[in-house]
């Protein structure tokens, strides 16, 4: 099987890791992504803002091929994300994803949730995978929950497990789709804290969120989506304090 494995030329700090070029996507006749181009360098934290229904989720899901695109190109770490199953699987190994609804596997313990992919995809020995799982649970602050089931945990704890599960594959890129939107207010902070720690650790992050405080504090760059297009990008200061585009101003005035 060795020769079928894709050679991933790992991007170095500061090099381009995600390259989207004129990405277009339709749901039936609904044009949800219109010529979206975005380049992300390794280690960058990019926050995606925009009104609901503007295509943020769809866009972030194209990056690990949960959504097919009909036009344009996406390269992750140099791999062309085409219809080729081999490429798609390689890219999914390189990207972790955290969903709004956690999507933990309810029939497995927390430990099994985390070790499943390392054992079956990365072919790690069980003992090693479990040791790393405990380290990750330590990192997200819930080492004592390893043998419980997802249903026994609070929303905030479940989302932190979901982050640990994604990290267990040692991804180059982490994708977050509104990770705190399904949480009770008092649990949002514990998840954001974990994400802040992650951002500092130097992993590449693409985050869809409505948490403006988080965006301002953590983002290297902010991308504003509206009606399937990127309206404006810039650093938090540029975008929040000196927005150029009318629609950006409108969006910010509605949300702040």
């Amino acid at each position: 099987m060795a020769q079928t494995k894709l050679q991933v030329t790992k991007a170095k700090e500061g090099e381009e890791i995600i390259a989207c070029d004129k990405v277009n996507k339709w749901f039936g006749s609904l044009h949800v992504l219109k010529d979206v181009s975005l380049s992300v360098t390794k280690g960058e934290v990019v926050v995606i803002l925009g009104p609901s229904g503007s295509g943020k989720s769809t866009f972030i899901r194209t990056i690990n091929a949960l959504e097919e695109i009909q036009k344009g190109q996406i390269h992750i770490d140099g791999i062309n994300l085409s219809h080729d199953v081999k490429n798609i699987e390689a890219i999914r190994r390189e990207t972790g994803m955290v969903f709004q609804q956690f999507n933990l596997f309810p029939h497995m313990t927390i430990l099994k949730n985390i070790t499943l992919a390392p054992i079956w995809v990365r072919k790690k020995p069980k003992a090693e995978a479990e040791k790393e799982a405990f380290e990750l649970l330590e990192r997200v602050g819930i080492p004592e929950q390893a043998h419980k089931y997802p249903g026994q945990l609070s929303g905030g704890q479940q989302q932190r497990v979901a982050i640990a599960r994604a990290l267990a594959m040692q991804p180059e890129i982490m994708l977050f789709d509104e990770p705190t939107s399904a949480l009770d207010p008092e649990m949002i902070k514990e998840v954001l804290d974990v994400m802040k720690e992650l951002a500092r650790s130097g992993i590449t992050m693409l985050v869809v969120t409505h948490e403006m405080g988080f965006a301002r504090e953590v983002a290297d760059r902010i991308v504003l989506f509206d009606e399937g297009e990127i309206i404006e990008t810039g650093t938090p200061t540029e975008l929040f304090d000196n927005p150029q585009h009318e629609r950006t101003k409108l969006f910010l005035s509605q949300i702040l």
Binding site: R93, F105, L116, M169
Partner: protein, 401 residues
């Protein structure tokens, strides 16, 4: 008691439920005679139950003549299976008993209760006068095997793996032993009969329909139109025709597909028919389970990099099947009961034996006893299945998330 309660003590006190103050009279009043109308209902129900019970008991113990059952007991159990080869059936039973015993010792719970029931059944048969002394010896051995398995099971190294492998190979082993396949003197399937045949057909149909049903359900959701429409057509056609038709077609049509000079006997044809029939229903059950899953589960499985096979095996199927255990067991029970239809295509299963026995002039007019007896046999097995399913649902937490 000190006057200052610790916080947790006071919490406990406030949570204590009020003690029930009902005595027997209170209970009667509350549950049976709590209104004028309910009192009338209670009296009427008691009378109805009394007359039914009285009638049944009188019939069972005085009117009925059970000789028709007791004298044909071997026929009911194994049909015409060659008498001097019966040790092979007993050996199969012994193997199954061993697996029950081991599983009971290892997993406790439901399987232990089932083993107890099995042992009680054996025990009853060792006491009743109409079982031959050889039979009694074998039954005693089977009881001993269950007990031995129960005690050895937990102490055996790798016991779980061994037992699972045992269950896995049990079926081919049983078929091999029963048939002989040249190693033992052949006992043709056309003389297998009675409960033995009923159980074999049901087990084949239930176990065989499982993988086929899963494949059909997955095929039905496939993106490839040929596979998709093949599965849909198959499922909808099978579900639209009665089982008895399938049995007749299996008799006539399967030989048409076979090369010249190649022959499959009656029993195997019926097994194939029953399996293909049940598979269509299983497919619909599995599809129900798949639909009960949230899309997020499929996506999360993809996102962590699992390939489609792993994602099916670890994430999707365990949840989908768990969600539809009641439907799957219901399907299995109805398949088990529907095997009675094979009597119509000339096999002598439990019902087939009943037909031949009551036609015997020696037992003229004793059909009531025969039917009551086989109803009891069916009920014991079907009820054991539904009981196990309920326990299984509970222990797997179906319905709670």
């Amino acid at each position: 008691m000190s006057s200052s309660l610790k916080p947790e003590e006071s919490v406990k006190q406030t949570l204590e439920p009020p003690k029930s103050t009902l005595g027997i009279n209170g209970w009667l009043k509350k549950n049976l005679f709590n209104s004028f109308f309910n009192s009338i209902l209670t009296v009427v129900s008691v009378l109805v139950i009394y007359f039914i019970l009285k009638g049944s008991i009188t019939w069972v113990f005085t009117t009925a003549q059970w000789a028709v059952v007791t004298e044909n007991y071997r026929l009911f159990m194994v049909g015409q299976y060659t008498i001097d080869q019966l040790w092979r059936v007993w050996t199969c039973l012994g193997f199954v008993s061993l697996l029950f015993g081991l599983s009971a010792g290892i997993w406790k719970g439901t399987i232990r209760n089932l083993s107890i029931v099995l042992m009680l059944l054996y025990l009853v048969h060792t006491i009743v006068p109409f079982v031959s002394s050889t039979g009694k010896m074998w039954l005693a051995i089977n009881i001993a095997i269950i007990l031995a398995g129960y005690f050895i099971g937990p102490r055996l190294p790798k016991s779980k793996a061994i037992t699972l492998v045992g269950w896995f190979i049990s079926f081919p082993l049983i078929i091999f032993l029963l048939n002989g396949f040249g190693v033992f003197s052949p006992v043709k399937t056309n003389i297998w009969g009675g409960l033995l045949l009923t159980l074999l057909i049901s087990v084949v149909a239930i176990l065989g329909s499982f993988p086929i049903g899963i494949l059909l359900a997955l095929g039905r959701t496939s993106k490839l139109p040929i596979i998709k429409y093949f599965c849909i057509t198959y499922i909808e056609i099978i579900r639209g025709i009665p089982l008895i038709t399938v049995f007749f077609m299996a008799q006539i049509m399967i030989p048409l597909f076979l090369p010249e000079g190649f022959e499959i006997n009656n029993v195997i044809r019926v097994m194939i028919g029953a399996t293909l029939f049940t598979a269509a229903y299983m497919a619909e059950n599995v599809r129900g389970g798949l639909q009960s899953l949230q899309r997020g589960q499929f996506e999360a499985a993809k996102a962590i990099g699992l390939n489609p096979v792993h994602s099916m095996a670890f994430i999707i199927m365990p949840q989908a099947l768990r969600a539809v255990i009641p439907a799957i067991v219901g399907q299995s029970i109805s398949m088990f009961k529907d095997t009675t239809l094979v009597a119509i295509v000339g096999l002598i299963d439990l019902l087939g034996i009943a037909q031949t026995v009551k036609a015997n002039p020696e037992f003229l007019g004793r059909h009531m006893e025969v039917y009551v007896f086989i109803a009891l046999v069916y009920w014991v097995i079907a009820y054991s299945m539904s009981y196990s399913s309920r326990r299984l649902e509970k222990s797997l937490g179906v319905g709670e998330r």
